[in-house]
């Protein structure tokens, strides 16, 4: 279970790293970096779905919030992808996707200590 969770976290970090060519703001990912990012993102989406089903252990609310932000980030990407936005507003949706994902990752790092404490408490 632990390995599986670490694998998912690794995918989140990988998704962040592959998004680096999209910096600075206003520059969308394109070309090879986009292809890699989408591949990692697709695996992560499936992972997130499986997490709901498979993960049974207790979670600290900060960690849950982090996963929620990452999932919301994914939704903000899917909406323009489904053709529900114009090109002008697509930029905003993509930027929102980026910011939510970064916040989610940051929160995941912050929640590491409380999560560990919660797990130790639960096992003891």
């Amino acid at each position: 279970m632990k390995t599986w969770r670490h694998g998912l976290q690794l995918l989140v970090i990988l998704a962040m790293l592959t998004a680096i060519p999209g910096i600075p703001l206003g520059t969308d990912l394109r070309g090879y970096p986009l292809m890699i990012h989408i591949t990692v993102g697709t695996l992560l989406a499936v992972g997130l779905l499986l997490r709901i089903k498979l993960q049974s252990e207790q979670e600290h609310w900060l960690r849950s919030l982090a996963w929620l932000l990452l999932s919301t980030g994914l939704v903000t990407l899917v909406i323009p992808m489904l053709g529900m936005t114009s090109s002008d507003t697509t930029h905003l949706w993509l930027e929102t996707h980026g910011w939510l994902s970064i916040t989610g990752l940051a929160l995941m790092a912050i929640s590491a200590a409380p999560q560990r404490a919660l797990q130790e408490k639960t096992t003891s």
Partner: protein
């Protein structure tokens, strides 16, 4: 001291304003204006070059003169200049004129503006009479136009009763100064006025318009598929969506009397200094802030990743031929003398002009281009000289003497079943009698003499293709590339973005040496697109809709699941 200097300047300031005011008042008093946007009906006298009125039957050898006829009311000098008259900044590359010389097999794209890869008039050693004969029919004239003829105002401002073919014929018959009068039926080839066109006051009535409609522009700015097959099964509606909507060319390509016609591209710097950004595609349809043309549809491009708008010009999807016709050969007004009746205009009529070739423009964006390939005789580069064109008329005598070419080099030297190497051998023999640096250019390659009356291919700058951007005809959104989805471009069957035109060589080369050397050079050429990336992309678009559905499903379930887990975590939190 300072006070006296200040007083001096205070006196001087009003004095400097006097000439300026005088100039303005002179200008406003000299030229007549109705002030109304309605068409002014021209009921005028015809004048000779000295401005004297000519009466039919009493010409006494005097010829009608268009400039003098218009001059009493219009600033002809100003109207003869501008970008349309060949003046002003060069700007981005436009359509070249094509010098075709069948006797030397030459096809040179030429322009007086310093545009990359076009041959200059000086290099070709053309005299003014040659320029008039070659390009005059489709040149409206002007201060610095290619032909150097005086401006023919009527070709653009007379929507009806102007016979374009008669004009072309008059120019061919060496009567350029009478061409416009002959074209509108006012005079015969000798300059005698047609009395039936004049009324009792010895005046003529002319239906002249500031905007004579698109037909006036299309005399010289037209393109049509070269096969001209009326029964082709694909849609070839040539009409631009703007024209179909009732607009006119000059609604966007505007100009004042100075004839600095707006070219309509992004970042255009107009010679007048007037901001003309709103007259480009993006300026009108994708304006930042408040739209200027409120009726112009604002495209939403739903589902289109926005970087497409940074990487592509609007014309890449909305202009030129439909993607299935990209790369086809077209005739253009200037290159193929459209509007003049001919029996020998075929799909293979030179020059070959290809359309819808996707190349990067000056802003680094992909845009459809016209493309053509030069042909002719050149001197290769040396330490002291760059590659240079050999003027076709300088070669005629030697071609006739050595190869017996009389009127059409390509036809007369064509291979025959009895002599399958005739073309190659003839060119090789001719090159052998010229200096070592002489080469023949055709099919995107230079050809030099090789042993045994053969030719060998060499790479030459002058042999490279020349391109200019394609702006029209603009297709409506429903007919644009991508209207049917991403797979219009991103599919295993769509290949138009990788399209390159294939030059047809004038010389049919059969020897091993020629074929091997040409093959080697062609293999070294790289495509303009990163085809590896493009081909990697393609499979990702197979089943794309299903992938979107799965990804969306995952995202939404993950979102609601995470929300549920968050509530659960908050619920378990110790109070």
């Amino acid at each position: 001291m300072i006070r006296s200097l200040a007083s001096f300047f205070l006196i001087l300031i009003p004095l400097t304003e006097i000439p300026l005011q005088a100039q303005v008042s002179e200008e406003t008093s000299r030229w007549k204006r109705t002030g109304s946007p309605n068409t002014y009906f021209h009921h005028i006298e015809i004048r000779d070059d000295r401005g004297q009125v000519i009466v039919p039957g009493q010409e006494n050898g005097r010829l009608p003169h268009l400039g003098s006829t218009c001059a009493p009311c219009h600033d002809v000098e100003k109207a003869s200049g501008g970008l349309h008259g060949g003046d002003g900044i060069d700007g981005k590359t436009g359509e070249p004129w094509m010098l075709l010389d069948s006797r030397s097999g030459s096809r040179w794209p030429v322009h007086h503006r310093s545009w990359n890869s076009f041959t200059s008039v000086e290099e070709l050693g053309l005299k003014q009479s040659d320029l008039i004969k070659q390009f005059g029919a489709h040149d409206t004239g002007g201060t610095n136009s290619i032909s150097g003829m005086a401006s023919d105002c009527l070709i653009c401002h007379m929507p009806h009763s102007y016979n374009f073919e008669l004009r072309a014929k008059s120019i061919k018959d060496n009567k350029p100064q009478l061409a416009s009068f002959i074209a509108m039926g006012l005079s015969d080839v000798n300059g005698a006025l047609n009395p039936r066109m004049f009324d009792a006051e010895n005046k003529v009535s002319l239906d002249l318009k500031g905007d004579a409609g698109p037909e006036a522009c299309l005399h010289c700015h037209q393109q049509t598929p070269a096969n001209n097959d009326a029964n082709r099964p694909t849609w070839t509606h040539a009409e631009d969506v703007h024209l179909a909507a009732g607009m006119s060319c000059v609604d966007c390509h505007r100009a004042g009397l100075d004839h600095h016609i707006v070219r309509g591209h992004d970042g255009e710097i107009h010679p007048s200094g007037t901001p003309v950004e709103t007259l480009s595609c993006r300026g009108c349809h994708l304006p930042e802030g408040t739209p200027v043309m409120r009726s112009a549809p604002r495209p939403e491009h739903r589902g289109l990743p926005p970087f497409h708008l940074e990487e592509l010009t609007c014309t890449a999807c909305h202009s030129g031929p439909m993607s299935e016709n990209s790369g086809e050969q077209v005739w253009t007004s200037r290159a193929h003398r459209l509007g003049i009746t001919r029996q020998d205009r075929t799909a293979d009529s030179p020059p070959e002009v290809f359309t819808g070739i996707l190349l990067k423009d000056e802003h680094g964006r992909w845009a459809p281009h016209y493309q053509t390939w030069p042909a002719g005789w050149v001197k290769s580069a040396s330490e002291t000289h760059p590659e240079r064109v050999l003027p076709p008329h300088d070669l005629r005598t030697s071609l006739r003497r050595i190869l017996r070419v009389r009127s059409d080099m390509v036809t007369e030297l064509a291979n025959t079943p009895e002599d399958p190497d005739r073309t190659e051998r003839s060119i090789s023999v001719f090159l052998g009698q010229q200096s070592e640096s002489t080469a023949f250019i055709s099919g995107g390659l230079g050809w030099k003499q090789a042993a045994g009356d053969q030719l060998t291919a060499v790479e030459m700058e002058l042999a490279k293709s020349v391109e200019w951007k394609q702006g029209h005809p603009v297709r409506p959104a429903s007919m644009s590339t991508g209207a049917q989805g991403c797979s219009d471009c991103h599919s295993t069957t769509a290949s138009w973005p990788l399209l390159e035109s294939e030059p047809k060589t004038l010389v049919d080369l059969n020897s091993n040496e020629a074929q091997k050397s040409a093959e080697k050079l062609n293999q070294e050429k790289t495509t303009v697109f990163d085809s590896l990336r493009w081909n990697l992309w393609k499979p990702l678009f197979n089943g794309r809709d299903l992938a979107k559905l799965i990804l969306s499903g995952c995202a939404f379930i993950a979102f609601f699941g995470s929300l549920f887990r968050l509530f659960k975590s908050l619920d378990r939190r110790p109070s």
